[in-house]
Amino acid sequence: MEIKRLKLHSFRNYQELDISFNKKINIFIGNNAQGKTNLLESIYLLAISKSHKTYKDKELITFTEKFSRVGAELLKDDSVIRLEIIISPQGKKVFINDVEKRRISEYIGVFNVVMFAPEDLNIVKGDPNYRRKFIDVEIGQTSPIYIHELNQYNKILRERNEFLKLAQQTKKIDYHYLDVITEQLAKLGASITKKRATFIEKLNIYAKKLHNHISNFTEELDIKYQSNYQQQDISFDNILNLYKEYYQTDFHKATTQIGIQRDDIKFYINNVDASLYGSQGQQRTVALAVKLSLIDFIKEETSYYPIVLLDDVLSELDDQRQTQLLDCIKDKVQTFVTTTNISGIKEDLLKKADIFYIKDAKVYEREGDHYGEDK
C-alpha cells in the first residue's frame, strides 16, 4: 500500500500542489507554519474522510476559496486506485476511481493510517476521554458496525438521561419505558464492551513486544481494559441486571451511572500505573509502542499495512527508539515524517528517505531551492 501521488487544491494554505512519491520513507522539512502538518492532514483525510485536527470540514478550505479538493493515487495490489474528496460549504463528496460514493462507509477503509503526533501523549497522560476516542477511532477504522453501535448507544444514552431528568422533576417514573431503553442500552453496551476488550487484548500483545524492545528489555508493558461494568461475564442478561441494580441511583442522580461512556484503559510498566507514576520519557515510550502496535493490528485485521504519519515526533525520539521505529516500518510500510530539524534524525533512516523542503506552502526537492530565494 503506497501513495504515489498527492494533489491538493485550495486545501488549508496550499493553493495548488501536485507531488509524487517514490520511496517508502518521505521526510517533510521546514520551519513552523509552512504547511508540513497540512500535508499529513490531507493524507489522514483521504483515509478516514475526516481531519484529525477538526470536525468542521469547512476549516479545511483555504480561507479565500469556495471549495477544496484533495486527491491521491494509491498503489494497492499492483493496481492504481484514484481517491478524491471534495469539500464545499454544502458538504463533502468522496470518489473512488472517479465514481462518487454516496455513503462514507463505502469509502472508508480503502487504506488505513496510523498517525503519531505530540498530542498522542494524552493517550497515556490525558483524561479518559482521550483514551475512549483513541479506541473508537481505531476500532472504527476496521469495523463499520462498531461505529453504528456506538452512535446508537450514545443516542439512547441521551434519551435515557433526559428521561431520568424529567422523572426527577415530576417525581414520576414510567418503569415500562425505563425497562425498554435500558434493555436497548444493555444490548449495545455488551456488544461494544466485547469489541473493546478484544481490541485491547490484541493491542496488548503487539505493544508489549514493541515496548520490551524499545526499553532494552528492562520494562514490561501491560495494557488493561477497564470496563465500567466490571463483569467477568459480558452477557446481555448480566449487563441488564447490573443496570437494574442502579435504577435507584440513576433516579437520584438523574443521570445514567454506568456504561461504556465511563470506560478507560490503564497502562502499567512493571506493574506500576504509567499514567500516574511514569516519567515523561516512559509515558512517551508507551504512547509510541501503542501507536506502532497499530501497524501490526491493522495488518492483521485488513491484511494490508497502513500508511504511517509521524508529525513532529521523530527528532524527539532517541537513537534506540528511532531504530525500533525503523524496525517496525521494515521497508514495507510507507511513512511520512514532518520535522523542523534534520539533525536529530538517524543517518541510516535519512539514507532510505526522500527529503522534501516545505516553505510557504510550496514543496522543493532540494534544500538550495528555498535558500536561493534569500540571496
Partner: protein, 204 residues
C-alpha cells in the same frame, strides 16, 4: 418593513412550513402576489381552510379523515382482529399502496422521545390500549420505523401487552427486494443476517 404588510404576513406564514426557509418563503409569497392566477390562489386558500375545518383525526385509529370513523375503520370487509401500529399517516398510506394488508391500523402520530419532550402519553398509545380493551384483537403488528425511537416505541408497546393473550409481532428488516447484497450497507446486511430464516433443517 420593506414589503407591504400583507406580503410580509404571507412570508411569515410560508416560513412556518417545514423545509421552507426565509428566502424560499419570500420567493413563494412574491410568486403568489405577482404571478399566480386569482382562481388558483383562491382554490389554494380554500384548500388550506378545508383541510383544517373539514378534516379530523379518526377517533378510532388516528387516521386523517373527513368522516368519523375513517373509511378503513368502517370497512366491514377488513380483518378486525389485526392492527398494524404505524408512526405517521404517511406510513399508513405506504401500507395501503401495497394492497395486500387487509387488517386495521393505529396511527401513533409520533414516537416516544424524552429528548424532544415526547412521552408515551403524548402519542396515541392510551387510545390504542383503550381500543384493545373493547375490540376483539388477536394480533398487533408493530410497524414503526427502524430508528432508535421507533424501536423503543415498538418495544414499549410490546411491554405493555406482555401479559395479554394478544400476539405481538414486529415487521422484519433487511435487504430490499431486487437489491443485490453488494449494494447493502454493513448494518442492513448484519440485520438481514440476524433475521435469516431456515429453509431446510436436515438435523431434525
Amino acid at each position: 418593513m420593506y414589503y407591504p404588510d400583507t406580503i410580509q404576513k404571507l412570508i411569515e406564514s410560508f416560513s412556518k412550513l417545514p423545509g421552507i426557509g426565509p428566502k424560499s418563503a419570500e420567493r413563494l409569497a412574491l410568486h403568489v402576489a405577482t404571478k399566480m392566477k386569482e382562481e388558483d390562489a383562491l382554490s389554494f386558500a380554500k384548500g388550506l381552510i378545508s383541510v383544517k375545518r373539514d378534516l379530523m383525526h379518526c377517533s378510532v385509529c388516528g387516521n386523517l379523515t373527513d368522516k368519523n370513523p375513517c373509511s378503513i375503520c368502517r370497512d366491514s370487509h377488513r380483518d378486525r382482529s389485526v392492527i398494524a401500529v404505524v408512526e405517521e399517516i404517511k406510513d399508513l398510506i405506504a401500507m395501503e399502496k401495497m394492497r395486500e394488508y387487509r387488517g386495521l391500523y393505529h396511527v401513533l402520530n409520533g414516537v416516544i422521545s424524552p429528548m424532544n419532550g415526547i412521552g408515551p402519553q403524548d402519542i396515541n398509545i392510551p387510545s390504542l390500549l383503550e381500543r384493545l380493551k373493547n375490540e376483539e384483537v388477536k394480533e398487533i403488528i408493530l410497524a414503526t420505523n427502524t430508528t432508535i425511537e421507533g424501536e423503543s416505541t415498538a418495544l414499549y408497546i410490546a411491554k405493555l401487552l406482555e401479559n395479554t393473550d394478544i400476539k405481538v409481532t414486529r415487521i422484519a428488516r433487511g435487504l430490499p427486494v431486487g437489491g443485490g447484497l453488494e449494494y447493502a450497507d454493513e448494518v442492513t446486511l448484519l440485520k438481514a443476517l440476524e433475521g435469516r430464516r431456515e429453509i431446510i433443517n436436515n438435523n431434525k
